[in-house]
């Protein structure tokens, strides 16, 4: 009897402040712990000394510790947090906008396009110049992602300029398949084993090789996205009962859809260009947040960003430190941590639904 009561009354009606504070604290702790983990283990007190010294607090830290913590690990830690946050809010926005639980940041053919772009540079670059810079791959991936997005939107747009969600999803699938075919074709035809290996590792994502410059760029992009998306929290809530309902609540449906789809695509393309296609975070994190804290966006969006940052940070830390001297692809780690956690939550939810 009592149990039935709790099943009927929903959880998560409390304010935003408590979960927000909890996850922010967890993110900060995760960052500090992650800075200490690696091929050289550094105690937490030393990590905080280095960070405080860099922030001008007048603490003395050794040059070697500074080199490892601040120059090598910090950019990567920040990049992981920014990427996780960005992918998670993209996933949340796209799931709400298309009312499709399977929507993820790569919905608009972004990952396929980025891979095709990166592969073109890797394979053609290898055969033409014999040398490919990381910057070229990043630019190639970004261009590929944008091209795929433009094709998907052009394919999905109706005569009236509307962007029906189901057509958008299907157009994304179609363009994704074309990109995948192109990628396989180019890799096989090139017959270059090294290129094939690099392509595979690119599609599973990696934060290795991220330096301060790219890291700050990723932080700015993700930070800006988190702030701007909050202006759409109410509009996204209005889509709960479908598009006519959103319209009757005063949301301009077509304008909102275009703005958010293009915004999400640009954000994802920027992230993916640096990190490769990291799966799972954008798909699963918003669902976890909904299951625990409910579906309203003024909570869903910031909490997804925080949880995404935390998850990707742990995934990257494991990816770079589990096997010494070798990087595990981060996409493998996100799936290995994320899938069981998600399955457990789904089961728990299944019990009282």
């Amino acid at each position: 009897m009592h149990q039935q009561q709790t099943a009927v009354v929903s959880r998560g009606t409390a304010g935003t402040a408590a979960p927000f504070a909890l996850l922010t604290l967890l993110l900060l702790v995760t960052m500090i712990v992650a800075l200490g983990i690696g091929s050289v283990s550094i105690p937490i007190s030393t990590v905080t000394d280095v960070v405080l010294q860099r922030l001008g607090a007048g603490v003395d830290a050794s040059l070697l510790d500074d080199q490892i913590v601040w120059q090598l690990r910090m950019p990567r830690v920040l990049a992981a947090a920014a990427t996780g946050a960005g992918l998670a809010i993209c996933g949340a926005v796209l799931q709400s906008l298309t009312r499709n639980d399977l929507a993820d940041p790569y919905l608009l053919g972004i990952s396929g396009g980025a891979t095709a772009g990166a592969v073109s540079v890797i394979v053609l670059g290898v055969s033409v110049a014999g040398l490919v810079s990381a910057t070229m791959i990043t630019l190639g991936a970004f261009a590929g992602a944008l091209l795929a997005m433009v094709l998907v939107l052009a394919l999905a747009t109706g005569r009236s300029g509307a962007l029906p969600p189901s057509r958008t999803v299907l157009a994304g699938v179609a363009i994704g398949q074309i990109c995948a075919a192109y990628t396989s074709f180019v890799v096989i035809m090139s017959g270059d084993h090294d290129a094939a290996r690099r392509v595979l590792s690119w599609t599973l994502g990696s934060l290795a090789g991220i330096r301060w410059g790219s890291s700050l760029f990723l932080c700015c992009v993700a930070g800006l996205a988190v702030v701007l998306i909050m202006a759409f929290a109410s509009d996204l809530d209005a889509f709960a009962f479908g598009e006519s309902s959103a319209g009757s609540l005063g949301v301009s449906i077509t304008a909102t859809r275009w703005t958010l789809l293009i915004g999400s695509a640009l954000l994802t393309a920027s992230l993916v260009a640096f990190t490769g296609a990291i799966g799972f975070v954008g798909l699963v994190v918003p669902h976890v947040v909904r299951l625990v804290w409910g579906p309203l966006h003024r909570r869903l969006l910031p909490l997804s960003a925080l949880l995404g940052a935390i998850l990707l940070l742990w995934a990257d830390t494991i990816a770079r430190s589990l096997v010494s001297g070798q990087e595990i692809p981060i996409g493998v780690v996100t799936a290995v941590i994320g899938a069981p956690a998600f399955a457990w939550l789904l089961r728990r939810e299944g019990r009282d639904a």
Partner: protein, 253 residues
Amino acid sequence: MRVVVEGIDWGVEDLTILHDVSAEFPAGSVTGLIGPNGSGKTSLLHVMAGLRRPTRGRVEVADEAVHAWPSRVRARRIALLEQHASTSLDLTVRQVVELGRIPHRGRWPGRIDEGRSQIEAALKQGRVDDLADRRWQTLSGGERQRVQLARALAQEPSLLMLDEPTNHLDLRHQIDFLSTVRGLGITTIAALHDLDLAAAFCDRLVVMRGGHVVGAGSTEEVLTSELVQDVYGVRTTIERHPRADRLSVVWHG
């Protein structure tokens, strides 16, 4: 608010669904929109609610053109209850009703207790205050419809549009729902299928067939067996019921 519709055409792609529709809805009245399936009732509601732009003609609410209003302004004046409101999200009743405050909020998230008194009032008016903490997914059809009404009332509208609001409700809930709506004193336009309910709760009727208005006026004038025969192709006897003191519709083949 008085609603005047003048010579509206509207369609999808090359198919015209509304043909030269004109009608008038006096302020404070409850008007039933009746007609067979596919006669254009939902389309007309959506055009009047400003969700669809007519290809010709105009809709005026309180002497202003609805389609010239910014969408948020429109949503503070007109609330629409859709035919099958459904969601896959796990929302509480209070959260669903809160959606009605969206047109009154600013772009950026404000204080958490924004509009709380209007939400409480709407929960009471829709008679769902005792359900406030229940989950939407656990509600019955009748409860869901009352929650949607409360959501609409949280918009503080001066004009209420209902699209077949009593479908799937049992007799008790049909009567309760429409009595609640009548008691609000808000100008209401409701698409209805049940002619007995329309006769009981509407001051006026507008009759549609194939995208045309084929009858309009007070319920007593409009609802005749000739009209029902003409529009629905069903023979009926329509007479004032001695016990209920209103028109009752009995069909006989």
